[in-house]
């Protein structure tokens, strides 16, 4: 039958993001002085996966028609916690990892609780809780420092025997363990339903409160995974408002580049992963092009704008202008 048409339609956002990433990365690789080798890939992966995971975290609330402006701060908070707890013996570090993840999930849960029971808009709720989480991070790490289990860190930021960056494997594992089951679960679909139409979801008997809680909790968890990985990349913790802000905004940009609608109801975390990779590659292009240093920010801004306008090409094909509105 013509099933494939519908499947293609469902995944067109993701496919667009993959295409964008492949194009940019090919350009990057073609111009890279060292070319395609293990170290270059590992470097790119270590940087890309962090944002990819935070972008995944952002995707879940966005699909539900919400947004999480605190992902960056949960990311930073997790980084600070990890720099305290993921140390010492393997066992101790393992327990630390669990504690970090639990803390992230708890932050997400708090977001969810305020949104559900306080009946506040997600955007403003998470803006406020983000400030609180940053305060907590600052309490934990008044100045940068700390440490992390070196064995674990080296293993995760290095490359596997085959030359595959270990971070990519971590990312794949997160996708398989968190995203895929979520997407196929009842709350995952309920979240999509809510993003599609909140009133209709309510009337259809969707368990909206529970869905919101699960979704934000998972977003917090994912952001904490990102923060944990950051700790492995930097061997330390830092409560930096700037980093939190950058990751939050970039995660939203990655979600959009990944073909997810900010209005909710449509998209995929896999798309966001590639959106994040594409975004990171835009940053990397600075490295391979010889630009005046003071022109670099402008160059990056312009490429970013061009990338986000990429989706506007579809406007050329719209015959019925009503299709422009949702």
């Amino acid at each position: 039958m013509n099933d494939w048409r519908y499947h293609l339609r469902e995944h067109r956002g993701t496919l667009g993001a993959v295409a964008l990433f492949v194009a940019l990365f090919a350009l990057y690789m073609a111009k890279h002085p060292a070319g395609w080798n293990r170290d270059v890939l590992t470097t790119a992966a270590n940087k890309g996966v962090l944002l990819a995971i935070v972008a995944m975290a952002q995707t879940l609330p966005v699909l539900m028609g919400g947004i999480d402006l605190s992902v960056g701060m949960v990311f930073v908070l997790a980084n600070c916690i990890a720099s305290h707890l993921v140390v010492g013996s393997a066992l101790h570090a393992g327990a630390g990892v669990l504690a970090v993840l639990a803390a992230g999930a708890a932050c997400g849960l708090v977001n969810g609780l305020v949104i559900v029971f306080g009946r506040l808009q997600p955007i403003i709720t998470t803006l406020a809780t983000g400030i609180i989480y940053f305060g907590l991070a600052l309490g934990l790490r008044p100045v940068p420092g700390g440490d992390v289990h070196a064995g674990l860190a080296d293993a995760l930021t290095g490359a596997l025997p085959g030359g595959v960056p270990a971070m990519l494997v971590v990312l794949l594992a997160v996708v398989l363990v968190v995203w895929v089951p979520y997407r196929r679960s009842v709350p995952g679909r309920a979240a999509l339903a809510m993003g599609s139409s909140e009133a209709a979801s309510y009337m259809s008997g969707v368990a909206m409160g529970r869905t919101t809680l699960v979704t934000y909790t998972l977003a917090g968890l994912l952001a904490a995974i990102g923060g944990l990985l950051l700790t492995f990349v930097t061997y330390s913790g830092e409560a930096s408002q700037a980093i939190g802000g950058v990751y939050t905004l970039n995660s939203i940009a990655a979600v959009v580049l990944g073909g997810t609608s900010l209005a909710g109801g449509f998209g995929s975390a896999v798309g966001s992963v590639f959106g994040a990779f594409a975004l990171r590659t835009i940053g990397d292009l600075l490295f391979v092009f010889d630009l005046e240093p003071l022109w670099q920010p402008l160059f990056q801004g312009v490429i970013l704008l061009a990338a986000v306008c990429f989706g506007s090409l579809r406007l050329l094909r719209v015959g019925n202008r009503l299709a422009l509105f949702r």
Binding site: R9, P181, R184, L192, A193, A200, M203, G319, R321
Partner: protein
Amino acid sequence: MSDPVLRLVEVSKRYGGVRALERASFACAAGRIHALLGENGAGKSTLIKVMAGVVQPDEGRLLLEGQERRFAHPQEAVAAGIACIFQELSLLPDLSVADNICITNPPRRFGLIDRKAQRRIAQAALQRAGAGDIHPLAPVASLPLSKRQLVEIAKALARAPKILILDEATSALPAAEVKRVFALLRRLRDEGLAIVYISHRMHEVTELADDCSVFRNGSQVASFAAGTRTDAQVVEMMIGRDIAHAFPPKPAPAAAAASPALEVRGLSWAGRLHAVDLAVRPGEIVGLGGLDGQGQRELFLALFGVLRGVSGEVRVDGRPARLAGPRAAKGLGIALVPEDRKTDGLLLPMSVNDNLSLAALDRLSRAGVLQLADEGHAVAGMMRRLAIKAGSGEDAVGTLSGGNQQKVVIGKWLLNTPRVLLLNDLTRGIDVGTKQEIYALVRTLADEGAAVLLYSTDYAELIGCCDRVAVFYDGRIVRWLEGAALTERALVASALNLEEATA
């Protein structure tokens, strides 16, 4: 009547100052189809929202199979076997048809949704609802309204309910589909379901119902077995007066010499419209007939400037018109009452006043500054003229009953005194009394010189209202019906593009 499965006793519901339900009682029994009748704003939808757990009543009791229940959330009503098709559909536009059908209780494997099984369930439910041609993977947003209503019905069926409630669930369906749905409902009744059916189409009620309850001003005023009252009596109970003639008399055909107000030549668009030729003289009401989705909607959108890449020629009052967009169309005196008032016609959270003046802001302002007095005047006048039932003009339009919302959409365009009216399913969800007023209104507008194009899925409306009807098939006008030739039989036959119709 056997023991009722569901009983509501003296239920009241107030919204601020508005009494939607006032000590209303209602009961329905298994194995019977119970029609709920009442004018717009009588409280029917509110009543079924109470049954479905969407709305919590201020007072009163709800008994399900003799047990007193309280539904705090629609989920609980669904779990209790009550499936409801709401007047404003409750489908999720971005999700697939299958996802929608199984939204509350999907089949699961290892705790995750089993998509294959879900698809089977959806297909079966669609088949039962007589919509086997809808692809289960199609996103709901891509379906026209009539198909969506069928999906909604399939969704209700997939829940294997004990009580099925349909709130104007067939209002957008063409006659043929309505017949199929009716057959289905009868079958379900015979299987022992209790069915509550709300419709403003009297002939449907007559055809289908076993029992009837009439509501007025939030209370039940009568409950009786179907067939024990005449239509006239029922209408009298509903609106407190009799209506002699549903449709106003048609004037004698205007002199053919009069130049057309709207003239369309060779209009084509993207394979959905093929060389449509059409001319409407001032004072004329031209109907668009045919099955649903044969290009009538596209014609309206094209005339309103919404479609891009339209070829052909459009003349308004003899001058070639460049239809760049709704704004340009509005400037030419064209008005469009869209199909879906909720998404296309109204700003639900905004007030009735704001909605009414929206299309006429240019007229109601001077140098961009609103003339509040003029606006208030115009809006209040329109509310009176259309007898829009609302607590006050400041109420959000979303709080009005469906029919009154529709009146707001019409009123919005009337404030602009349009030359050409494009009316898409004008009276969907409007009660008999108001319908009559609206038909009279349209006729008056025509008499005052407007040219009217009217699309309806209701053959009676086309026959009663229109001077001529253009029957559409596959984006073309296949036949013009006029005068005595304008009969239901002819409409049906030419809609199917049958050869015999020419006989």
